[in-house]
C-alpha cells in the first residue's frame, strides 16, 4: 500500500474521532479541553443544537420611546405589523440573536440596546428616552400567550 493513502486515512480517522468527542451529547465528554479550545478560537463545533425547544417560555422584543409628558409610545414589537419600525433590520435572523436569551442575557444585548435606542431617539426628535425590553411569552400548541411581564429592561436617554 502507498504511504499517502494510509496517512490520509489515519488523519481522517483522527478528525472523525475528534469531531465525535466534540459533538458528543454527553456534556462532560463534549467539554474536554481540546474541543473547548477549538470552539473558542476557531468558532466551530460539532454539537448541533437547533430548535431544541421551540415551545414553552420565550421572549418578545418591545421597543418604545417616552415623550416629555411621560407617555410611552410603542415603535416596535416583534411579530406586530402595526408596530414595525425598523422591522427589516430587527426581524433579520442575523439580528434576533442579539436579543433572544438562551440561558441568560444574550452576549451582545447591551450594545444592541444602546445602538437601537440611539437610532430610535435620532428618528423621533420628540422622544426623551428609549426603552428596550423583552416580554415573557408562552408558546404552546401553536398559540402565543403574552404574560405582560418584562425582563432585561434597558433605558437610554439623549446624550
Amino acid at each position: 500500500m502507498r504511504a499517502s493513502p494510509q496517512l490520509r486515512a489515519g488523519a481522517i480517522a483522527a478528525a472523525i474521532a475528534f469531531a465525535a468527542l466534540d459533538g458528543c451529547p454527553i456534556e462532560s465528554v463534549r467539554g474536554w479541553r481540546g474541543a473547548v479550545w477549538v470552539e473558542q478560537h476557531w468558532r466551530v463545533s460539532q454539537w448541533w443544537a437547533i430548535y431544541q425547544q421551540p415551545g414553552g417560555t420565550h421572549d418578545r422584543l418591545w421597543i418604545d420611546g417616552e415623550t416629555p409628558d411621560g407617555t410611552w409610545h410603542l415603535v416596535f414589537r416583534a411579530g406586530d405589523p402595526e408596530h414595525a419600525e425598523d422591522a427589516e433590520l430587527l426581524d433579520s435572523a442575523r439580528v434576533w440573536g442579539a436579543y433572544t436569551p438562551a440561558g441568560g442575557t444574550p452576549p451582545q444585548y447591551g450594545p444592541f440596546c444602546a445602538w437601537i435606542s440611539d437610532r430610535v431617539l435620532a428618528d423621533h426628535r420628540d422622544f426623551v428616552r428609549a426603552r428596550v425590553r423583552l416580554e415573557r411569552i408562552e408558546l404552546e400548541r401553536g398559540e402565543l400567550q403574552p404574560s405582560g411581564q418584562f425582563e432585561y429592561v434597558r433605558m437610554r436617554g439623549r446624550r
Binding site: 476557531w42 460539532q46 443544537a49 430548535y51 431544541q52 411579530g79 433579520s92 435572523a93 445602538w115
Partner: protein, 294 residues
C-alpha cells in the same frame, strides 16, 4: 483487514460533478447572504462598533475593520462559487468568516459554523475540476480534463451533513417534538414572533398538518444515519429520506425567517448523491454526453 478497507474507502476516486455542485452552491449561498446583509443595511451595523453598530470590541487581524472583512468574505465567497483560485478563496473565506464571527457572535447561525468547516474540506478537494475558472484556465494551458477526482472530501461532507441532522435530532429536548408534547414543535416555532414569517392565524387551522410535519421532521433527523446504510446498500428507499430533507428545508424557508440556513443546507445536498445519480453531468466528454440517450 478493517484498516485496509478503511484506507481503500478513503482512496476512492469519482467524477467531479457532486463536489463541483457543492462548491457552486456553498459559494453562491455565502455570497448572497453577505450581499443581502449589505443591501439590507445590516453589514454597517453587525460588524461596526458603536455608535454605527453594536459589534464587540474585538480587534480583527491585520488592523482591518469589519467592513473590510465583509468585502474580503464576499469576494472570497464569489470566487468559491466561480471556482477562481478556489483553494486560496476557501481559506480566505474561512479567515474572514472567523473575523466577522468574533465581531458579531450573536449574529451567527449554525450555518456560519458549518461554513467555517466546509470550505476547509473543499480547499483540500478537486471541487474546481469542473465548471470553474480554474478548470477553464487549466484547459487553456493544455492540461487534460480531470475525469475523476478523490472522493474522500465528498464522503466527509456526506458524513458531516448526516451528523448535523442526527445531532440536531438527539439534542431536541423539548416535549413538543414528541408524542407527549403532541408533536406541536413546528406549530410553536411558526408562532414565535422573532422567527415566524407570517401572522400566526393560519397555524391553528393547519395544526394537524403541523403535527404530521413535526413527526416527519424528527423521524427524518433521527433516521439520518440510516441514509448511510441505504446509500451503501444502494436501497432506493434513500430517496424518501432525501426528499424529506428537501421538503424539510424548503418548509423551514417558507415558514420561518432563518436567513440563509435552509439554502445553505440544501447547497450541500449534492454530496448525498452517488455518481450514478448524476450520470449525465458526470459524463466527462461533452460529445459523448450529447449523444447519450435521453
Amino acid at each position: 483487514m478493517i484498516w485496509k478497507r478503511w484506507v481503500a474507502l478513503w482512496d476512492h476516486r469519482e467524477p467531479p460533478a457532486q463536489l463541483a455542485l457543492v462548491r457552486i452552491g456553498v459559494g453562491a449561498v455565502a455570497c448572497a447572504d453577505l450581499v443581502y446583509a449589505r443591501l439590507a443595511g445590516l453589514a454597517g451595523v453587525l460588524w461596526a462598533p458603536a455608535p454605527a453598530g453594536y459589534a464587540t470590541g474585538y480587534q480583527p487581524w491585520f488592523g482591518l475593520d469589519g467592513q473590510a472583512w465583509w468585502l474580503i468574505a464576499a469576494i472570497a465567497a464569489a470566487a468559491i462559487a466561480l471556482g477562481a483560485g478556489t483553494r486560496v478563496a476557501c481559506l480566505v473565506y474561512v479567515a474572514a468568516s472567523l473575523q466577522l464571527s468574533r465581531l458579531a457572535p450573536a449574529s451567527e447561525s449554525a450555518l456560519d459554523v458549518l461554513y467555517r468547516m466546509v470550505p476547509l474540506v473543499l480547499a483540500c478537494s478537486r471541487c474546481n475540476a469542473r465548471w470553474s475558472i480554474d478548470a477553464a484556465i487549466a484547459r487553456a494551458l493544455g492540461r487534460p480534463r480531470a475525469a475523476e477526482v478523490p472522493a474522500w472530501p465528498r464522503y466527509l461532507l456526506l458524513v458531516q451533513l448526516v451528523w448535523i441532522y442526527f445531532s440536531a435530532g438527539i439534542n431536541k429536548s423539548g416535549a413538543e417534538w414528541g408524542p407527549f408534547g403532541g408533536f406541536t414543535a413546528l406549530a410553536d416555532a411558526a408562532v414565535d414572533p422573532h422567527a415566524a414569517r407570517f401572522a400566526a392565524g393560519w397555524v391553528q387551522t393547519l395544526l394537524p398538518l403541523t403535527r404530521v410535519a413535526t413527526a416527519l421532521a424528527i423521524a427524518f433527523e433521527l433516521a439520518a444515519p440510516l441514509y448511510l446504510v441505504a446509500l451503501y446498500r444502494r436501497w432506493r428507499v434513500r430517496w424518501v429520506w432525501f426528499g424529506l430533507g428537501v421538503a424539510f428545508e424548503v418548509g423551514l424557508a417558507l415558514v420561518l425567517r432563518l436567513g440563509d440556513f435552509p439554502f445553505g443546507m440544501l447547497a450541500l445536498y449534492p454530496a448525498l448523491l452517488v455518481p450514478a445519480d448524476l450520470q449525465r453531468l458526470n459524463t466527462a466528454e461533452p460529445a459523448k454526453r450529447a449523444s447519450s440517450p435521453s
